[in-house]
């Protein structure tokens, strides 16, 4: 059986950042990712990131991804692609499937950085081809350079819905409308303004009622909703669209954390069920760490900083750096996390994270 000091599941921003920090201290690291390419969802994020300058604000996701890959290589991180981790066992050991072969890897420490998956929304006709995740649209246009449709209805006005609507415009599609069931836009004002300047209506207190079409979406029926989200009869409107994008939130991909026996909590502000962790990103399962969207839906920068904390904590626990050095390094990352979780949007997540850590200590 293959043995390694530190095995990481997921080669996105959290996993790669943890790998880099640990490898920089001398830890032997292997990263396993089921995808053809590393970088997680960074390479489809062609917009400039927010936050303060020192956290890479103004830099596009694709460039952050390239930098992480360069650093990972520099410090000798081994990245295994097309390698799906299907199980986790005592030891800890990972069950891996790659190139039609199944094998196990034993590690001293494991980091789960599996990310999140998009939520679906069920309505009449939602199974028709043309109803797709907003992230799927983003993958198609920004990575594969293929337009999934010409006339789009976006469901959801969070940052994902707003940013991807704008990127669909950049790719040459027409966005007929963004509908939002809540009475207000849920993403940043700056993203909403960009869309509005392009003439895209953002309809609050509206949702999609039905998609119709023979072999794919041909029309969408939208409807106004009241404060209980009940449709107001007589307010239906018919839009000629060939694509309906769903941007209705994400859910942490916690399967491996469940399997590992990590204690899980339901925290709505963080996207649902997520493994509890301490301020070293250590779960309740021995030697199993977590970072990134798996621990609560945020964004790439918080994933990077959480990954750093985990990587440093692992290097410390394996004896590569002493307490003082580890404390200093972790504090830098934690200060960044604090800054990233400021403001009306970050505050709720910051509080939820504090509750998460408290719940791990005092169930």
């Amino acid at each position: 059986m293959k043995e390694v000091e530190f095995a990481i599941v997921g080669g996105g921003p959290a996993g790669l950042s943890a790998a880099i920090e640990a490898a920089r201290c001398g830890v032997k690291v292997m990263v396993f990712d089921e995808n053809e390419r590393p970088g997680g969802q960074l390479f489809k994020q062609i917009h400039k990131f927010f936050g303060s300058r020192e956290h890479g604000a103004g830099i596009r996701g694709i460039d952050i991804g390239s930098q992480l890959l360069e650093d990972a290589e520099k410090y000798g991180v081994e990245v295994y692609l097309n390698a799906a981790v299907w199980g986790i066992f005592d030891g800890p050991q990972l069950g891996i499937c790659a190139e039609h072969r199944v094998f196990r890897v034993k590690a001293k420490k494991v980091l789960l950085a599996t990310g999140a998956s998009e939520n679906a929304l069920a309505f009449s006709g939602w199974t028709l081809p043309g109803v797709i995740g907003a992230g799927a649209a983003q993958t198609m246009i920004n990575i594969h350079r293929v337009l999934p449709g010409r006339r789009v209805l976006m469901v959801g006005s969070g940052n994902v819905g707003l940013i991807i609507s704008y990127q669909l415009l950049q790719a040459g599609a027409q966005v007929e409308a963004v509908v939002e069931a809540l009475p207000h836009i849920t993403g940043y004002g700056v993203h909403a303004s960009k869309l509005r300047r392009c003439g895209v209506p953002i309809l609050t207190s509206h949702t999609v009622k039905e998609a119709t079409g023979q072999e794919r979406v041909e029309r969408a029926i939208i409807v106004e909703v009241d404060h209980q989200f009940e449709p107001r009869p007589g307010t239906e409107r018919d839009l000629a669209v060939d694509t309906i994008c769903l941007a209705v939130g994400l859910t942490p991909m916690a399967e491996l954390a469940w399997l590992a026996g990590c204690r899980i909590a339901y925290i709505p502000e963080l996207g649902g069920h997520a493994p509890l962790h301490d301020d070293n990103m250590l779960t309740t399962a021995e030697d199993i760490y977590v970072a990134g969207d798996l621990t609560g839906i945020e964004e790439a920068h918080t994933a990077i900083e959480e990954g750093r904390v985990a990587g440093i904590a692992v290097a410390e626990s394996l004896g590569y750096i002493d307490f003082t050095r580890a404390f200093e390094l972790k504090q830098q990352a934690k200060d960044h996390l604090g800054a990233l979780r400021k403001g009306p949007f970050g505050e709720k997540r910051a509080q939820a994270k504090v509750r998460m850590i408290e719940r791990r200590e005092h169930p």
Binding site: E34, P129, I132, R145, V146, L147
Partner: protein, 105 residues
Amino acid sequence: MRIKNHPILGPLANKKKVMIDVDGRQIEAEENEPIAAALMAQGISVFHRTKKTGSPRGLFCGIGRCSDCFMIVDGIPNTRTCVTPVREGMKIETQHGLGQWKVDR
């Protein structure tokens, strides 16, 4: 439809082309792109039909998590076309229901 020019990403890189067979039709694809992208570039949106009602399904999540883009690829059913890259001469078939194996397992 392919996005030839993009305000951020620039012009589409000239990649090597491969030919794939989709339900008997020869289609040009870009080397290494996922099957789903090649199909959507040609305007194909129905990838499989459900067992019970035969209703159409196509790309949904685009990152290998759901099962809506399943097709029979080189005789292997339930292949995730959104994460499986095209190869020269690949045979791709619309899947009906659970599909059937056309090669030895």
